[in-house]
Symmetry: C2
């Protein structure tokens, strides 16, 4: 089961990684990963959860040299990633490494940004470190999942810790041994329960992972030590947090297959498992002249959809993100599912409530992750059937660069208006920046 | 298995607790818990691990209004508990709730101290909050252990998070619902792997728990939310972190039986499971004229002793804390096992190495936690046998107040010299203080 060199091999890989070594497709995936979450952080920069986190951190009196996206405060170098990571994830609109259901951007990118500010790193260094962090988080996730996910750990909180520590550690110039200590310090803090889905605490998971990753890197730089085998030891992360880890998976085709290229971007602002159902709602929209005509809807989905999205009567916006019934209803009624579809108003709107109550869900373990079948029966007996084979944003149907830019505009323009284009230029080509300072500058509201 | 009211019941209990309600024996247990770890923090205030943590935190630029024990720096209100908690635990000399192997002082007391500084609380408020935090941490530990401990979680890191959040939340004046949110925010960060035993990261566990507890309380005060059932939900702490939780245990005789009274204090600076063996070494000391006379030693111990204390050839001081062989040797050679017995020098001293190599360990699952049998065979064939029924510092043979004061002097006087008595007065009767400021003042080195 255990490969004793996993921790060391991953750290050697991460510290040796150079921008020049990255294939074009990997660079592009890194750019997309950064741009997507930068936009989301700016879009959510006045979200109530972000205001609460900033207020609590300001109670701590910890102003410092690390910047927030879309906000003027500067905080200490672990508090800024806490807030940025929370903001990136709070709308459930970020990105997904589909095999593990890890959302790598929100934990890894803020840690890299704070470490880049501390060390004066270039945009290329930043992007290289983000790729290293995403690789480690995704690959250890591959080793622990699906058991780790099935046991109900929130993979973004747990694996996010590892990715954040690696990205920050690389940017702070740790050698492979010190990076392994940082990885150990982060591993032993890795947590996050899916019981928190629907509570504000859930978006704290990537924020905390980012903050703990930076702290672990700083502690390791100062001389703090972790164990020799933090991931693979008999009392280490893999043994404690997964029923059937296979650590060979973490090293499979390392440096040849790039997990960051498997990072998918969410077209809809909710958990990815219900995206096929939203696609179906969107597709059926033009065929349903009046929602009152709908007699009943049956959606056939993978069992995990109901496990995490089974809320039948969501009472508020946050809860509606965990209702596959709500997801289908807004897809059909609104033709999409952005943050506006998961507002408190939309969650309790009579037309949405009426339609979602007509939806029943049937589970089928043989259904692929990115697929569903939907059957709508109209009052006149007409049956409308739609099968989604690969949801938008899945590996087999990735969002195009243009779709990603439009999503960025959707979330950023309400905050930055005309400044949106400048931020897109900085965020989508961060490797062209001499430092990360212009990115933060472009993210601020004017006047 | 689940009692859905556990989280709420514990938070209602904690917020309602008043100094006036505490029995005398509970007050005394609280005083002893505080005094013991205050002394340890001062004693370890220049330990390399503490210097590293302070250096890393200072890299973060987070000076603030929270004090360190035995050090002049003031840090932010989550960083001071991080350092204080680390310092209290770094010598493995603190305290133990024996049923769960939780060391409650190091996570709970620093969180309470920082929250008391933030809120200007009295010494009675502090001590009441410490009791509340220790009760919650120990009782949830009772519900999850032994399975949680056996699975190799470091209970001080995991349950410590809960106790720290409760102690801090009570002092910050949270109502029961906000305290439950704080408990949820802390629960989803609860971690700590026993793979870290022997590495510096291990003492970070209670420090991180204390820091996360304060942060959770501040976030909840600012309005952040956790789930309704953070401990008992199907994807919550108990389900994820224990194979066989029994949450009824958390509420059994709540407010009638006080778990803080079961908190035992370590006479030796290492994990509690090898204390019976050290007692045996101390007891046999006068019977062995010359250690060279020893041909062989057999110790019969509970299996857990070898699982966590099985290091046969510890190469440095920290590793020697996890060697039952070393523990026996210093007990016999030095008549005790304080920090000096776990120094790098003592770990590699030829006489210790020679004696510990003669020790073999046999496990017996029927052996009680606080007992052992030891047989020493001398070169002339003489057999010396010693049975320990209840180790010093166990529930059945607790350290007396006088023993605790002597332990305090042992660790504090090298740092404070003549100031030791004044700190003992403040630390052992903290309920007589109008605020915690005099405690921190008395902990500082003079001149």
């Amino acid at each position: 089961m255990t490969t004793p060199v996993v921790s060391d091999a991953l750290c050697a890989f991460a510290t040796a990684l150079r921008w020049e070594d990255l294939p074009g497709s990997t660079r592009s995936a890194g750019r997309r990963t950064v741009a997507n979450v930068v936009g989301l952080a700016v879009g959510a920069s006045s979200h109530p959860a972000v205001e609460i986190a900033v207020a609590a951190v300001e109670d701590l009196g910890v102003r410092g040299g690390a910047s927030l996206l879309g906000r003027p405060e500067t905080l200490g170098p672990t508090w800024a990633p806490l807030v940025n990571g929370l903001a990136m994830h709070v709308e459930d609109f970020d990105d997904t490494h589909l095999r593990t259901v890890l959302h790598p951007g929100a934990p890894v990118v803020p840690a890299a940004l704070a470490a880049a500010e501390l060390s004066g790193a270039s945009g290329q260094d930043l992007l290289t470190a983000v790729v290293a962090g995403v690789e480690v988080a995704s690959r250890v996730g591959n080793a622990l999942c699906p058991g780790h996910f099935d046991r109900a750990w929130h993979v973004t909180g747990t694996m996010g810790h590892l990715g954040a520590a690696v990205a920050a550690g690389v940017l702070l110039g740790l050698d492979p041994v010190r990076l392994r200590h940082a990885l150990g310090l982060a591993a032993t803090q890795a947590s996050g329960h899916t019981q928190q889905l629907g509570a504000m605490a859930k978006s704290l998971h990537p924020g905390r992972a980012a903050a703990d990753g930076v702290e672990a890197a700083l502690l390791a730089r100062a001389g703090a030590t972790g164990p020799a085998l933090p991931l693979e030891g008999p009392r280490g992360l893999a043994a404690l947090m997964a029923p059937d880890p296979d650590l060979d998976e973490a090293l499979r085709d390392l440096g040849e297959v790039w997990e960051v290229e498997a990072n998918a971007f969410k077209p809809y602002a909710c958990g990815i498992v219900s995206h096929p159902v939203i696609d179906a709602g969107v597709a059926l929209r033009d065929l349903v002249a009046d929602p009152d005509d709908v007699a009943s809807v049956e959606v056939v989905v993978r069992p995990v959809v109901l496990e995490v999205m089974g809320v039948e009567e969501p009472a508020h916006g946050l809860a509606s993100k965990f209702s596959v019934y709500h997801c289908f209803a807004v897809g059909l009624l609104d033709g999409g599912a952005g943050p506006a579809q998961y507002s408190d108003e939309r969650a309790t709107s009579p037309e949405v409530v009426a339609l979602r109550r007509k939806v029943t869900a049937v589970t089928d373990p043989s259904m692929p992750k990115d697929a569903c079948h939907v059957e709508v029966v109209l009052r006149d007996g007409t049956v409308l059937r739609h099968d989604v084979d690969h949801a938008t944003g899945s590996v087999d149907r990735p969002m195009t660069d243009e779709q990603l830019r439009r999503k960025f505009e959707l979330v950023v323009s309400p905050v930055l208006g005309e400044g949106t284009a400048a931020l897109w230029r900085a965020a989508s080509r961060v490797d062209e920046l001499g430092s990360v300072a212009p990115l933060f500058t472009a993210s601020q509201r004017r006047g």
